[in-house]
């Protein structure tokens, strides 16, 4: 299979030598049909809700969330990580176009070109069952495979879901991540727009991944998508999202809330390859509820952004549920990837696995921050956490903050971590067989992250490996 030149990661071989540059950093000029002024307050929240002609309950949900956002203090370690965030200097809602289309050709020209450059339409033809493309605050393109629709699979943007499936949305929205969960979840709950909604009926297996692509275009824009995925009993689904934005001198904010609900026996795999431009603050709350004998996997690639703080969580509420987080983080110049995972074992005989790989280079900083919590009564729990960090030069940094809170006698919990550089013996082995130092380093790094890349659809895995290779150029282990 030929690999498209540009895809979610968007790296093109032609300009590979410009190390450390961001390949998806163009902008399309300001394109919008509606944009309230900067800042967030009751008036703006009401305005967004009115603009979307939302039902009363959603307006209330937003306003209650806004109150929580205003009341919630900023956590100290959040504040330490981003001293310069100004909530009043952000556009919370930008409506890019008047209508959502299901044909790429019907998109405004600039926007269409953007998605062409990102490779989304081509990808859709090749290996995706359904695609959603979000530009600024609204989903501009959406298509679901007809046979899936016939089986009762619902896949649309959240705004449409609020209109068309209010019962399902109202029953589940905010049940995994309540608006008061944290300051950014509260912010998202008050100004959210776009995002994906998926419902898979009992017993239905969606055999190809469903995908969403998120793009911020405007300077100082905030993107606050809200995603809700429900896999009913015995169903399975794989959802993939990609993200990018232009490079501006001032910062943008991406603060999504993603809720997954795996009903008994269901299986959800959620893959994110985040390649935001290096001026985006990426502060995302992602949490899944895993009911009896279900399985939830978060596969998390953090390559872009200025600062990412993201800790995908699984709350294991049913016996024998299984949660997994596999993540790769890469931090280059000026980047801080503060990522991790959180497993809360509420029910007996639940199991979890966290495998985190991070690479820091050219002054980048990677942080693993995680929590494994075992509640009293959750007997027979097993959990294993593994974090490995590669630090490629003297300027870079890696931190590990793994929390384990065990309040049950019969729980087996393990954590291990290592921090190293690229081994001299490994380099010597490869170089004595004719590889250059750079090739050898890239190969070792790719081997290092393989446990994660092997879970990706092949096209993503190839792109991911290629992107890591690009970033490794010039690296000396």
């Amino acid at each position: 299979m030929s690999v498209p030149e540009t895809r979610v990661t968007g790296a093109r071989p032609a300009d590979t030598l410009d190390l450390g540059s961001y390949k998806l950093g163009w902008n399309d000029g300001d394109q919008f049909v509606y944009r309230p002024r900067k800042g967030v307050n009751e008036e703006i929240v009401r305005d967004i809700s009115a603009h979307k002609s939302e039902p009363e309950w959603m307006t209330k949900f937003r306003l209650n969330s806004l109150k929580r956002f205003e009341r919630k203090p900023m956590l100290a370690w959040f504040a330490d990580n981003m001293p310069d965030i100004d909530f009043e200097d952000i556009y919370y809602y930008i409506k890019p176009t008047d209508q959502q289309v299901s044909d790429w050709d019907m998109l405004p020209e600039g926007m269409k070109q953007t998605y062409e450059k990102l490779g989304i339409p081509e990808a859709e033809r090749k290996f995706l069952a359904g695609v959603t493309a979000q530009y600024e605050s609204e989903v501009v393109y959406h298509r679901n495979r007809d046979d899936l629709a016939a089986m009762g699979v619902l896949f649309c943007d959240m705004d449409t879901a609020v209109r068309e499936y209010p019962d399902i949305v109202q029953q589940h929205l905010g049940t995994v991540i309540p608006p008061g969960d944290n300051k950014f979840a509260a912010l998202n709950s008050s100004v959210w727009s776009g995002g994906s909604f998926i419902y898979v009926p009992p017993g239905v297996h969606v055999d190809m991944p469903l995908q969403a692509y998120f793009r911020i275009n405007t300077e100082n824009a905030g993107q606050f998508e809200r995603t809700l995925i429900i896999a009913d009993e015995g169903a399975s689904v794989h959802y993939v999202e990609g993200c990018s934005a232009p490079v501006y001198s001032s910062d943008s904010l991406h603060s999504a809330v993603v809720e997954l609900i795996a009903k008994p026996g269901a299986h959800i795999r959620y893959t994110t390859i985040q390649n935001w431009s290096p001026n985006v603050y990426n502060l995302v709350t992602k949490r899944a509820r895993a009911e009896a004998e279900s399985k939830v996997e978060w596969i998390d690639g953090n390559l872009g952004s200025k600062l990412t703080m993201k800790y995908p969580a699984v709350v294991l509420t049913g016996p024998k549920a299984h949660g997994e987080v596999l993540s790769v983080a890469y931090a280059g110049p000026g980047q801080h990837q503060d990522a991790g995972a959180k497993m809360t074992h509420v029910a007996p005989e639940t199991t979890s696995l966290i495998d985190s790989k991070s690479i820091s280079k050219d002054g980048g900083r990677t942080t693993y921050r995680g929590l494994v919590k075992v509640e009293p009564g959750a007997y027979g729990v097993k959990s294993h956490v593994r974090c490995d960090a590669l630090i490629l030069d003297e300027q870079s940094r890696s931190d590990t903050y793994p929390y384990m809170e065990i309040d049950e006698k019969d729980a087996r919990i393990g954590h291990e971590a290592s921090v190293s550089k690229v081994g001299d013996e490994q380099l010597f082995y490869l170089m004595s067989r004719g590889l250059t130092e750079q090739q050898a380093t890239a190969m070792i790094v790719n081997g290092f992250i393989e446990p994660v890349t092997k879970t990706l659809p092949m096209e993503y895995a190839v792109e991911m490996s290629r992107l890591i290779e690009l970033n490794m150029e010039g690296a000396v282990g």
Binding site: D399, P402, I413, E416
Partner: protein, 434 residues
């Protein structure tokens, strides 16, 4: 914080002693007044029981109970002094005041000092070192400690002197609803060697202990240090043990924590120069509703330094334990090696263990790893023993003792190992009789 409790500047002044010590206390009281009192939402106090501490309940042990410095007519010192075993020197400290000291005359002739900080230790040389280690890691409790320091234990070994037998420091704290502030300053000069054994005890009274042990290992020195905490069940113990380790110097620090209601220890080692090595090990066993709380730091400032840490604990009944450790490899710590292991056994439903082994790595050419486990007794091990005819109770006891054995083997002095094993067995059997 404002000193609205009995911990006032006047109280700090009234504890007597030499002028420099009074002045030092008053300075500390001023610092304390500007500090915020710890709260559980601070990361370093997370999981702790700090919110249960009501300072209003306590007052510093007053001068008439302490006795003036140098008054050593009433040694006593609780039961531990009689169990000191082979030793080259001994200090008995009651409520932070040295009440008895003795030292091998041969060592005294070589310039070794084992005595009270407020008496023989009151010269410029000692005063320059006093507080130089703990001030690097000050919090409200160490400031409070300095503000009410009545004296303390000094173990000083000059350059090149090797002290073979341990120096034993016995601390006894008593006084219902009172607080005491024992301080130990251990200084090993260049190429000096010594072993210090500290024991902390208290009766079953409501008492607050804020202890500080400062250890300075000068270049190429070797310090072996063991502290054993066997407080009564109503004592709160908040301790700092911190060492600064010089070039090619070696520190072996061990802690055993068995007693207290809430007992917290910060165990810290800073590796200051090339070739410095540290080893920190600990055994802890919590029962009843005790909480044993450890915060460790392996701070690598210099290249080619090495540190190793092994903390092993067990909890039963409704006891809780906290292990929160940090390996910090700073920019210059290239070629450093650092290892950190925490293992926890949870023996009863209702008991719990938190484990947070952190790393902050700012250098790239390093070897660093950590591991941490929490779990019950291994079924396979139980099965193995039981299938060979060992009764379940006995099997559990063997496994728990075996679990602790590698740390017991690494204690800097073997003289206490037998009685510490016995103390662990008592705790296991205590649960069964309840």
């Amino acid at each position: 914080m404002t000193l609205t409790t009995a911990f006032t500047t006047d109280a700090a002044r009234s504890l007597g002693g030499p002028e420099w010590l009074v002045a030092r206390r008053l300075q500390a009281a001023e610092r304390l007044a500007t500090m915020a009192w710890p709260a559980p939402d601070e990361e370093i106090w997370r999981y702790s029981r700090i919110d249960e501490l009501d300072l209003e309940r306590y007052r510093p042990v007053p001068l008439d109970e302490l006795g003036p410095p140098g008054d050593e007519r009433a040694p006593g010192g609780g039961p531990f002094a009689r169990e000191a075993g082979e030793h080259s020197g001994m200090l008995v400290v009651r409520n932070g005041r040295v009440v008895h000291h003795e030292l091998d005359p041969g060592l005294e002739a070589k310039g070794v000092r084992v005595c009270g900080l407020a008496t023989c230790g009151a010269d410029d040389e000692v005063r320059a070192v006093l507080g130089s280690v703990s001030s690097d890691s000050e919090d409200a409790f160490t400031a409070m400690h300095d503000a009410f320091l009545p004296g303390g234990a000094l173990v000083w070994v000059p350059d090149g002197v090797v002290v073979d037998d341990p120096v034993v420091v016995v601390h006894w704290s008593q006084g219902d609803r009172e607080a005491s502030f024992p301080h130990t300053l251990v200084v090993a000069g260049e190429s000096a060697e010594l072993t210090v054994l500290e024991r902390f005890g208290s009766p079953s009274t409501d008492h607050l202990v804020s202890a500080v042990a400062e250890i300075v290992a000068c270049d190429n020195a070797s310090v072996r240090y063991l502290s054993v905490q066997e407080h009564g069940p109503h004592t709160w113990h908040i301790g700092l043990q911190r060492a600064h380790v010089g070039r090619d110097a070696r520190l072996r620090a061990a802690a055993v924590a068995l007693g207290g209601d809430y007992a917290r220890l910060r165990s810290e080692a800073r590796l200051d120069a090339q070739g410095a090595e540290s080893e920190q090990v600990a055994v802890y066993f919590g029962d009843d509703h005790q909480m044993l709380d450890f915060r460790t730091l392996q701070d690598h400032v210099a290249p080619r330094t090495r540190s190793e840490l092994l903390f092993k604990g067990a909890v039963e009944d409704t006891a809780k334990s906290v292990y929160s450790g940090m390996i910090r490899l700073r920019d210059d710590a290239q070629k450093a090696e650092a290892y950190q292991t925490n293992r926890n056994l949870v023996l009863s439903q209702g008991a719990g263990a938190e484990s947070i082994p952190n790393l902050e790595i700012l250098a790239n050419d390093v070897k660093c790893s950590h591991g941490s486990t929490v779990g019950p007794i291994d079924d396979d091990q139980m099965y193995y023993l039981e299938s060979r005819g060992v009764a379940p109770d006995e099997a559990e006891r063997l496994i728990v003792l075996g679990f602790f054995d590698d740390v017991f083997d690494r204690l800097p002095s073997s003289s206490l190992t037998g009685s510490l094993r016995r103390a662990v067995i008592d705790k296991i059997e205590h649960r069964r009789t309840r």
